[in-house]
């Protein structure tokens, strides 16, 4: 039996059109706009989003071009300028024509180190967030859709993780294994999966009662297909919103770990480590040493937070915006 026998009557006109006859002119083709497209258009007209987005683009460019800028200025990130980068007592020198942001306690160019620090902050922020979001989505989907025993186990794991203090776990883990770039991503990423997991789980529990899930099952879709083809597209907006707000949090967490000495290890340039080091000098008048790394951290996290809010407004037009 053929799939579809002869088409009749009314549909023949459409067949003819398909066979190559031109579509009558004058009929305006209305292009369907996807929800993503609509969100993008809302985002594009949001001033706060444009400012925050541009700031992030500049920061990312500076981070990417750090080696280029360093070679252009002629100062390496770990290069010590004992002669001109330190005063007679071996202390940092203030901002001047050679060192725009001054130098640090070891006579290194603070400006170049801040640029290199952005590479660490951004990459850990993004990678840790991706880890959190990926884990959170998978566990949230499984807990919400499968339910029962799986849900109970995941819910208890999340409860436990929310109950233990972040810093205590992070410091313990970092002291068991040698602190490194990847370990920081692992700690921040894994400890951050609980919130996206809870959001996804809640969404999935309400979505799985919808008829389109029943329809997919009636067509023979297995649980994996239902979760990733039918449910995932419906939670991805919330995940993106949460992820965009998770990036600044991850950057702060990374800086915190470095500040406490269990993050990325020296001599790698890192904002948290710089702030920590600068603390000992601030009271003696070396203000630039503390100011510039703190400012870099503040501007970056603020830009991500504002952009995250705008993304949420764009993806969920019903919610009220703070920065509109």
């Amino acid at each position: 039996m053929s799939m579809l026998p002869e088409v009749t009557g009314e549909s023949q006109a459409a067949l003819a059109a398909e066979a190559g006859e031109p579509i009558p002119v004058g009929r305006k083709v209305i292009q369907g706009r996807s929800p993503w497209r609509l969100a993008w258009e809302r985002l594009r007209t949001d001033k706060a989003a444009i400012i925050a987005g541009s700031t992030i683009v500049v920061i990312v460019l500076l981070a990417l071009l750090a080696p280029v800028i360093a070679s252009w200025v002629g100062h390496g990130p770990n290069q010590q300028f004992i002669d001109i980068g330190e005063d007679a007592n071996g202390n940092p020198v203030g901002p001047n024509g050679t060192f725009w942001f001054g130098t640090d306690s070891s006579g290194r160019d603070l400006f170049i180190r801040i640029l290199y620090g952005a590479r660490i902050s951004l990459s850990i922020g993004v990678l840790a967030t991706l880890t959190s979001v990926a884990l959170g989505t998978i566990f949230g989907l499984a807990a919400g859709y499968i339910g029962g025993f799986v849900d109970a186990v995941i819910a208890r794991v999340i409860d436990v993780m929310l109950a233990v203090p972040f810093l205590v776990v992070a410091i313990s883990v970092a002291s068991i294994w040698r602190p490194s770039f990847w370990l920081v991503i692992f700690i921040v990423g894994v400890l951050g999966f609980t919130y996206p997991a809870r959001i996804v789980r809640g969404q999935v529990i309400s979505l799985k009662e919808k008829e389109f899930v029943q329809a997919a099952r009636a067509l023979g879709a297995g649980p994996l297909r239902v979760m990733f083809v039918d449910l995932l597209p419906n939670v991805v907006a919330q995940v993106i919103v949460f992820g965009s707000l998770l990036i600044p949090a991850a950057i702060v967490s990374e800086a915190t770990l470095s500040y406490l000495g269990v993050g990325v290890q020296p001599p790698t340039a890192d904002w948290g480590a710089m702030i920590s080091d600068a603390q000992g000098y601030y009271q003696y008048g070396f203000w630039w040493y503390l100011l510039f790394p703190s400012l870099a951290l503040l501007i970056t996290t603020l830009a991500f937070n504002i952009l995250g809010d705008s993304v949420r407004d764009a993806l969920d037009p019903r919610g009220g915006g703070v920065y509109k």
Partner: protein
């Protein structure tokens, strides 16, 4: 699929020509209970008895209608047959396969043969996916067509159900209610299933659109020899489309009959009450008709009434109705195709409004509190004994 001829003649589809080989679906004593959380630690687990001991058969090429009030279990019945739920007990035999207990994995190939059309045309379509991808789902899930081939077949389907194939890339939100339901129909039609369970396919649609969708379903049935289970609460729709009709009340079938018989000679008082509630287009006729107003709500399916589940609301209720559950069988000399579960079935032309229950009020409220209401002329609860009121629909006569 070779045994399904493309066009089954209407005559063979009729229930009257009963033929054992014709049976596509046989449901025997189907039970579906949903457990609900018990409140106390030592309390026994309670269940919602959504479908309780339902049996019927569906022949190839026919439309079997299922009617009943909201919450009577008709949707659960449909979804249980499609094995979206694991059934509590009973047997479902589809096309010679016993599918009552098989695992979801082994059910998967059979899903090509049993499809569903859902009530809410928006809710049954994934809002985040394009129509082409939604209708192409069956091909993707069963890996039968990919890429350009899938697109071609999806567009054929869209065309067949009256959608513009150019709208392949649109989202469900860009279609009207009727068009969305056509998308649902196209998806269900992808594999030319043997059975399509239509779960209130038109009740969310505008009346003029209802007719279009029903006609589409009827055309497709003729063209592909489809068998439908048509679930609805709109009696006139069911009468229009069905060869046989089952009436459900509180999880049980109360009456099963060929469509014409059911609507002309109803045996069960519940069917009679439902029929009297169908609006008539002729106001003169409508004024003269005695409408049977059932008082009270449908009792809880967690603790259904004893005996006949309809007895607390039935105008003919007698003591036997409280104690014994009437079997579903031919009554008053009906043929084997007309079954009713009633101890005191209605005779032809009988006027239900003349009856008063012969059981006392206390017995009638055992299982369902709060069904008594003051009747038409304001007598109190005690006197109201009968939980049914007889009013001329003009509402001016005062007392019947």
């Amino acid at each position: 699929m070779s045994d399904v001829t493309p066009v089954l003649s209407e005559a063979t589809a009729k229930a009257d020509s009963a033929n054992g080989d014709d049976i596509l679906l046989q449901v025997e004593n189907l039970v579906k209970y949903f457990p609900i959380k018990s409140t106390g630690f030592f309390q026994q687990r309670e269940h919602v008895r959504a479908v309780d001991n339902v049996s019927f058969t569906v022949r190839r090429g026919e439309t079997f209608g299922i009617v009943g009030e909201t919450g009577c279990g008709k949707s659960t019945l449909g979804r249980s047959i499609a094995r979206l739920y694991d059934i509590t007990s009973g047997r479902i035999v589809f096309d010679g396969h016993d599918i009552s207990r098989i695992s979801q994995r082994r059910m998967r190939p059979l899903r090509r043969e049993i499809q569903m059309i859902f009530q809410d045309p928006m809710g049954s379509l994934n809002p985040r996916r394009r129509v082409g991808s939604i209708i192409g789902d069956p091909f993707a899930i069963h890996r039968t067509a990919t890429g350009a081939e899938r697109k071609r077949r999806v567009q054929e389907l869209m065309e067949r159900v009256g959608l513009n194939p150019e709208h392949y890339n649109r989202f469900p939100a860009e279609f009207s209610g009727g068009q969305r339901q056509r998308i649902g129909v196209a998806r269900a039609l992808a594999f030319q299933p043997k059975l399509i369970i239509c779960d209130e396919p038109v009740s969310a649609l505008d009346v003029s659109i209802q007719a279009q969708v029903i006609n589409l379903l009827a055309d497709l049935q003729k063209e592909f020899g489809l068998t439908y289970i048509f679930i609805a609460h709109d009696l006139s729709v069911v009468r229009h489309v069905s060869n046989n009709v089952g009436v459900m009340y509180l999880g049980k079938l109360t009456e099963v009959a060929p469509s014409d018989k059911l609507f002309t000679v109803p045996r069960h008082p519940y069917t009679g009450a439902l029929l009297s509630a169908v609006p008539l287009p002729d106001p003169d006729h409508s004024d003269q008709r005695k409408q049977i107003v059932l008082v009270g709500d449908v009792p809880s399916p967690i603790a259904p009434p004893s005996g006949c589940r309809f007895h607390p609301r039935c105008p003919k209720a007698a003591p036997v109705c409280v104690t014994a559950d009437p079997p579903l069988e031919p009554r008053l000399g009906d043929g084997p195709e007309h079954l009713a579960a009633c101890h005191l079935p209605m005779a032809e032309g009988e006027n239900l409004t003349e009856f008063r229950p012969t059981i006392v009020a206390a017995e009638r409220v055992i299982e369902s509190a709060g069904i008594l209401a003051p009747d038409a002329d304001g007598r109190g609860n005690a006197a109201a004994g009968g939980s049914i009121d007889t009013l001329p629909t003009s509402r001016e006569g005062g007392k019947a």
